[in-house]
């Protein structure tokens, strides 16, 4: 019975997704309505999650459905972030599709399905479940990325993503099979028990875990599996890119942390590997981002860098020193900043996203000072300048790394964020220190604008009241 209480938000989202899919059979229903309905479902799920997780009757259960799922503070927070991301994405999509008219009702349904898979993934405590959740999530995202069928770059993006994503999925399955062969179980708890008793040096286990890590690293766009991310983010519609960059990353990092944190031996075996991965992810991402002229591509590359920071926290994670709160906090901070920028792009981008490069945003502050200020806040948050959420996130990451004795990694993270200042500042400079060449007129509903300013508030609120679980 209580199992279902923890799953209630997921059930709500699932119902919403199926309901919307059925509704889209009716011609009379407008796309607008669908966006409000999906916002309603996301809002309801968020609220229920909040009540279930943090309400007076604290029904947190370690294991649900005989150890198949887990529900903890960490998964609760990850779920909240995903629902929030979905809500704000639906909000900015509403405005975005007023000028870009390739949307149908199914868009919002698929958005809900995607969120459903993501939340399931955060709770997964067993490899088959994780795989199913991963695929629900990925399939939805593939469709969302390629939603604009007439757009060549969207088609290119979805093709790249689908091909590579299918490989990653195959790796994951193969890894699952190998781990099952080695440990005799697909449950995280049993695997860690087996590793603890046997030392975990069987080739099957090592190979399987390696393949699973590869699949997960692919999903979070870590080095050396980061090459797809630039084109895919660029090709997808702005709200979809925002959703991918934030919610998807949250879900995958949640399962990543759950998987790694279970067993000290399993983690320590991979620590060197992850150390180098995170260093290369940070610096590789920076190198790519510095050269970009297109805003979405720059944000994609900076997303790689942020994955690198999150990997620092994963390196620092261990069973007795669970840095899940750090990861959760950083993800929330990153989500608020990134979603904010994509919400702003949704209404400033214009028809067919005609404003896309840094130069297109020249002089924005002269014409639309509030929007420019909002974007500045988001950029500063991503760059980690106080008093924004991004600063506290970075502070926690550095603290977790140094507490775990990874001083070198902390310093490298700091160096990487110095490099990243360049491309964040560049946009601010373009917006403020150049004269405007156009009038930045926008049409459509003010929802995306509202969303942007709500997220500005979130960035400061998360930064000034860092409630760490």
């Amino acid at each position: 019975m209580y199992d279902f209480t923890s799953l209630l938000p997921l059930i709500i989202i699932g119902t919403g997704a199926i309901g919307l899919m059925l509704l889209s059979a009716y011609e009379r229903i407008q796309v607008d309505t669908a966006s409000y309905v999906s916002m309603g479902f996301f809002g309801a799920a968020f609220f229920v999650q909040l009540v279930v997780g943090c309400g007076p009757n604290n029904v947190i259960f370690e294991n649900l459905f005989n150890g198949m799922l887990v529900s903890s503070n960490f998964t609760m927070i990850a779920g909240l972030i995903i629902f929030g991301c979905g809500f704000f994405t639906a909000m900015s999509s509403n405005t975005y599709f007023k000028v870009n008219s390739f949307c149908t009702l199914e868009f919002y349904s698929i958005l809900l399905f995607g969120a459903c898979g993501m939340v399931l993934l955060t709770m997964a405590q067993e490899l088959i479940t994780a795989f199913i959740a991963l695929e629900i999530m990925s399939l939805s995202i593939y469709i969302l990325v390629g939603y604009d069928r007439g757009n060549i770059s969207a088609a290119e993006a979805v093709l790249k993503y689908l091909m590579l994503g299918a490989f990653a999925g195959a790796f994951f399955t193969l890894g699952t099979a190998l781990v099952y062969g080695g440990a005799g179980s697909t449950k995280f708890a049993d695997i860690s028990g087996f590793v603890a008793s046997s030392g975990g040096n069987t080739p099957l286990l090592i190979g399987g875990a390696f393949l699973i890590l590869v699949a997960l690293l692919f999903k979070v766009a870590a080095f050396p599996f980061h090459a797809w991310v630039i084109d895919v983010y660029d090709g997808a519609a702005a709200p979809v890119t925002g959703f991918m960059a934030t919610a998807l990353k949250t879900a995958v990092f949640a399962v990543f942390a759950n998987f790694l944190a279970l067993n000290g031996d399993l983690h320590s075996g991979w620590i060197d590997f992850l150390f180098y991965i995170s260093v290369f992810t940070m610096f590789g991402g920076n190198l790519i981002a510095i050269g970009q002229n297109n805003l979405k591509r720059m944000l994609a590359a900076s997303g790689i860098v942020h994955s690198g920071y999150l990997l620092i926290a994963l390196v620092a994670i261990s069973a007795d020193h669970f840095t899940g709160s750090v990861i959760g906090y950083y993800l929330a901070a990153y989500a608020a900043g990134t979603l904010g920028i994509f919400a702003a792009l949704s209404y400033l981008g214009g028809e067919g996203e005609k404003r896309a490069t840094f130069d297109d945003f020249k002089g924005l502050a002269k014409v639309r000072p509030y929007s420019a200020a909002a974007i500045t806040v988001f950029l500063l948050s991503m760059a980690g300048i106080p008093p924004t959420a991004g600063f506290m996130g970075k502070f926690y990451i550095v603290t977790s790394a140094i507490s775990a004795g990874q001083m070198a990694l902390a310093v490298l993270g700091v160096v990487s964020s110095i490099l990243s200042m360049w491309y964040y500042l560049r946009l601010i400079i373009k917006m403020y220190f150049h004269d405007a060449e156009e009038s930045f007129e926008t049409v459509g509903s003010p929802l995306a604008t509202t969303c942007t300013f709500v997220l500005v508030f979130c960035v400061f609120a998360i930064g000034l009241y860092p409630i760490v679980i």
């Binding site: 310093v411 110095i418 220190f433 760490v468």
Partner: protein
């Protein structure tokens, strides 16, 4: 009312500045509002100074927990070390509002936010809180230079921003290291500087963390060889911003070393003291020589400011009471002399549209009051006895000679370079022949003269009655030095008390 005086001083200008940015007021209203707010801060500052008692501990303390899981608290306080720095930040701002005009309200708003953040950094006794204000104060500077600066403002803006942020981020890593070490040694989290001074750090990473802190502060001061952003930023920034940079922001760098580096890293500090003070002296000489060859008055003053920051830095690294009190005193003296000179140059540029030394001449015949004020500030800046500059520099050189005769000797003789470029510049700009431009130069208006007058009087009062100020800062300086001395005496005794004739460079 004085329970929350420091919070009011910090947040009144910040909130005022944000309100100005968001509300549709005119440029002149913004100027009046800014002037009024800074006047309120000035009076609170004066009241603080008068009620401050000459003891070593923190006064006007405010403390409440903020992020309890990491022991970060919102704690403010003032002691002898921060008193004069705080005064500089509180007292000098009204002059900026009355003297120079700016193009838009945004400038005044940024100025207010900068003041609030700087006062916050000065008052914070929690390291994380300090860091937050330290970073925030860069943002208004970034916008002021980028939006309202000279023709080459973009490279200058990028240079100062990326340079200082790079330093700050290193400091962040060092700061977290300190916090984590405290947690490891004492079992609880805190970033309170009084408690952190109990730390006993050692090993390679401690040296690394010390260097990270020092890089951040050396960039802000700026200490040789981290000074390369300074000439561009100071020259391209609007004059009032240059004044803020030189008079206050650079001082927070020095203050940060005294407040946060010395108590935590006593041993590393003592180990590097000779090297660091040499960097200070070399910076003095280098920037002094560079100043001689400048053709642009503002750039000349920029180098002169950097050169004088060198001697202030030397005072910190000597680690004795004379040098430390001298430094704290000189922080105020430098702000009232060199800082004010930037405002004078700003006025000249506003009236004549040029600041090339060759284009000027004979201003003293046209504008005697202006020339007198300029001369007094300039003489204070070169350290003429009877002005504020003399007391501070004398104390620092005295301390430097006690610390290491060679460095003391270099510091003392280098001051002559300052006299050279200043007097030569003064001669070319204020005497010699007048030209078309300078014949039209009008003397100070009564309002301008009245706003400069208190500062000029302050220069002379500080020079003749330094005891009023010194007695307030001495107890805290003594306590600070005593603490460092007992901690380091046993371990690196030969660094702190060099034998005559022996060169200590190899430490």
């Amino acid at each position: 009312m004085f329970e929350y005086a420091l919070s009011v001083m910090i947040f009144l200008p910040i909130i005022g500045g944000l309100a100005l940015l968001l509300s549709p007021v005119s440029q002149s209203t913004a100027r009046i509002v800014g002037g009024l707010l800074s006047a309120i801060i000035l009076f609170i500052g004066l009241e603080l100074f008068l009620t401050f008692t000459a003891t070593a501990g923190m006064q006007f303390v405010e403390s409440r927990p903020w992020i309890e899981s990491l022991g970060i608290s919102y704690s403010l306080g003032v002691d002898g070390i921060s008193l004069l720095v705080l005064m500089v930040g509180a007292i000098l701002f009204p002059v900026v509002f009355t003297v120079l005009s700016a193009r838009s309200k945004g400038f005044y708003a940024n100025l207010l936010i900068a003041q609030g953040a700087m006062l916050g950094a000065i008052c914070a006794t929690d390291m994380v809180l300090f860091y937050i204000f330290w970073e925030i104060m860069l943002l208004p500077i970034f916008f002021m230079i980028g939006l309202y600066g000279g023709p080459n403002r973009l490279p200058a803006t990028l240079k100062i921003t990326i340079y200082t942020i790079a330093g700050s981020l290193f400091m962040l890593a060092g700061l977290v290291y300190v916090g984590v070490s405290y947690q490891a040694q004492f079992g609880k989290w805190t970033f309170d500087i009084v408690q952190l001074s109990a730390l006993d750090l050692g090993g390679g990473w401690a040296v690394g963390a010390f260097l990270m802190f020092m890089v951040a502060f050396a960039i802000k001061i700026p200490l040789f060889p981290f000074h390369t952003w300074l000439p561009d930023a100071y020259t391209e920034a609007p004059s009032s911003t240059t004044f803020v940079l030189s008079a206050i922001m650079a001082k927070i760098g020095v203050y940060g070393v005294i407040r946060f580096v010395v108590p935590v890293f006593e041993i590393e500090f003592a180990r590097f003291a000779v090297l660091l003070s040499l960097a200070g002296v070399v910076g003095m000489i280098y920037c002094g020589l560079a100043a001689i060859s400048q053709k642009d008055m503002k750039r000349l003053l920029a180098f002169s400011s950097a050169s004088h920051m060198g001697i202030i830095a030397v005072g910190v690294f000597c680690m004795n009471v004379q040098a430390l009190t001298g430094t704290l005193f000189q922080i105020a003296a430098h702000a009232t002399s060199t800082g004010i000179l930037f405002l004078f140059v700003g006025l000249m540029e506003e009236r004549m549209g040029t600041r090339e030394i060759d284009d000027l001449g004979g201003i003293a015949y046209r504008a005697p009051i202006f020339a007198t004020f300029f001369a007094i500030a300039m003489l204070a800046s070169v350290g003429l006895p009877g002005t504020s500059g003399f007391i501070g520099e004398f104390l620092i050189i005295l301390g430097a000679i006690k610390f290491n005769a060679f460095i003391g000797f270099l510091a003392g003789t280098t001051l002559i370079i300052g006299v050279c470029y200043m007097l030569w510049m003064f001669q070319r700009v204020f005497f010699e022949k007048t030209n078309d431009r300078t014949t039209a130069f009008k003397d100070l208006k009564p309002t301008e003269a009245l706003s400069f007058l208190p500062v000029i009087i302050l220069i002379i009062v500080m020079g003749i009655f330094p005891q009023i100020f010194l007695e307030k800062i001495e107890p805290a300086a003594q306590q600070q030095v005593a603490k460092v001395f007992t901690m380091t005496q046993g371990q690196v005794a030969d660094t702190t008390a060099p034998t005559p004739g022996q060169n200590n460079h190899t430490n």
